[in-house]
């Protein structure tokens, strides 16, 4: 999730505290707190599974990139020994960029490979899907 959950929660904490002051306009307070609650709900929904999903996705992307090495050299090996969400997300971004390069290279040349990439991209959106998702 971008912006990152800790950064947003830190900001929301300040907003909630500010809205606890008695002089705040009730309409403004309702608006700020309502949106803050919505965001906290989204953060809560994703909290438990966030690291698991990133690890799964990074593994799947590495497998695809290795399989497509003939079309685009995979990025350098990266020891997955830092399991903080920020580190996993940074690695995820690196692999996603490489996947774009690979898919661009295989389109029209290797449909089986292209289909495998689409399958993983679809699976990625299934993992990231939230309860109230419009699609």
């Amino acid at each position: 999730m971008i912006p990152s959950v800790p950064a947003v929660l830190m900001d929301l904490a300040g907003k909630v505290a500010a809205n606890a002051a008695p002089h705040v306009n009730p309409v403004d307070r309702a608006s700020a707190l309502g949106l803050s609650a919505l965001l906290m709900g989204l953060a809560a929904e994703n909290w438990d599974s966030a690291a698991h999903h990133l690890v799964m996705e990074n593994r799947a992307f590495r497998t695809l990139l290795a399989r497509g090495a003939a079309y685009a050299p995979p990025p350098a090996e990266h020891a997955e020994d830092d399991f903080r969400l920020s580190a996993l997300a940074a690695e995820n971004g690196r692999l996603r960029a490489a996947l774009i390069t690979l898919q661009t290279a295989v389109e029209g040349r290797d449909e089986a490979m292209n289909d495998a990439i689409w399958a993983e991209l679809r699976a990625s959106t299934e993992r990231r899907k939230t309860q109230g998702s419009a699609v």
Binding site: I2, L39, R96, I100, I117, T125, K129, G132
Partner: protein, 325 residues
């Protein structure tokens, strides 16, 4: 109002939502010709940083061009493009009172029975916008011109540029969609018309009878292919999880209403192109929302909501339009 005296503002309150402009309602009172008067008004002010960058004069003129026509739009009163009076540019308009805009209310009584009528009005009005002559209504004089054959390329290039500038993580699905769009361009526009730019459920004022009383949020209005607006209204992100166009009716029904009202044809292949394009545009907007927050230009919670709640859903919408979901 040079003859007004005792001008005063009261009951100023911010309307929640509105990530591209700060919106406030207030009551203005004044004395004119010895008589006390008052009017409910809306103030729309640019925020410090927005999820879309637009010219408020074009927005102002778009409202003004359609006010009093078959396209319901609030009356525009004043435009201030300088930063002096209120720190950021703003305009003031009449408040159309007594109706709803938020889509959430539509999925419960007393609105459930109004969906067919509301859809008829929604896509009829969009057809009226498509039918409007931008030379006759003056908008061709303030909006940048575009050739019929270049509408698609201008819009795609612009929004791809926004993604290039603002994305905080690579977006493989949207990048694949852009490659497909460039490889399979649509035919030239049947006409170059006024494109509202954000025509969707949630951007109009509705009542319990299925009537529409005001089309809002013209900040992305421009000249272009009218199919662009139809495609935005059919972006799956605006189905609200109901599997219906705009959450209201099946897509073919919406398209038929629009064709009847506009007198234009929605070629299926061209409409598919514009619907997928609008998935790219949508993602660019959500990404810009995150960027405005990340760069510290706007730390309002409303800037985080699209980034968190819409980004993955927009990816899924693109997959759906491409037949990959």
């Amino acid at each position: 109002m040079p003859e007004a005296t005792d001008v005063a503002v009261r009951d100023l309150s911010r309307i929640s939502g509105g990530a591209s402009r700060e919106t406030y309602r207030f009551v203005a009172s004044w004395t004119q010709g010895g008589q006390a008067r008052e009017r409910k008004l809306i103030l729309r002010r640019d925020p410090p940083a927005s999820l879309i960058d637009t010219e408020r004069r074009i927005e102002f003129e778009a409202y003004r061009a359609f006010h009093g026509t078959s396209v319901p739009a609030p009356e525009m009163l004043w435009l201030e493009e300088g930063d002096g009076p209120l720190d950021h540019p703003f305009f003031i308009a009449e408040e159309i009172v007594g109706f709803q805009a938020g889509p959430g209310l539509l999925w419960a009584d007393p609105y459930l029975d109004t969906h067919a009528r509301l859809a008829e009005r929604k896509w009829t009005i969009l057809g009226e916008i498509a039918k409007a002559d931008p030379v006759a209504n003056g908008l061709a004089a303030v909006m940048p011109a575009v050739a019929a054959g270049d509408c698609w390329n201008r819009e795609l290039t612009y929004w791809e540029g926004v993604l290039n500038d603002d994305e905080a993580e690579p977006l493989p699905i949207i990048r694949a969609a852009i490659r497909w769009l460039r490889a399979n361009p649509p035919p030239p526009a049947q006409k170059v018309g006024v494109v509202h730019g954000d025509y969707r459920t949630g951007n109009f004022l509705y009542d319990t009878e299925g009537q529409i009383h005001g089309i809002l949020d013209w900040e992305m209005a421009h000249l272009g292919d009218p199919l662009e607006d139809l495609g935005w209204s059919l972006n799956p992100i605006w189905t609200f999880g109901r599997g219906l166009a705009g959450g209201l009716v099946p897509q073919d029904q919406a398209v038929a209403i629009w064709e009847r009202a506009s007198g234009l044809t929605a070629d299926p292949a061209a409409l598919h192109w514009w619907t997928l394009f609008n998935c790219v545009k949508g993602q660019a907007i959500w990404v810009s929302s995150a960027r405005a927050w990340l760069d510290g230009g706007n730390r309002e919670p409303i800037m985080v909501y699209p980034a968190w709640a819409m980004t993955n859903a927009q990816d899924r919408a693109a997959l759906q339009v491409m037949g990959r979901l």
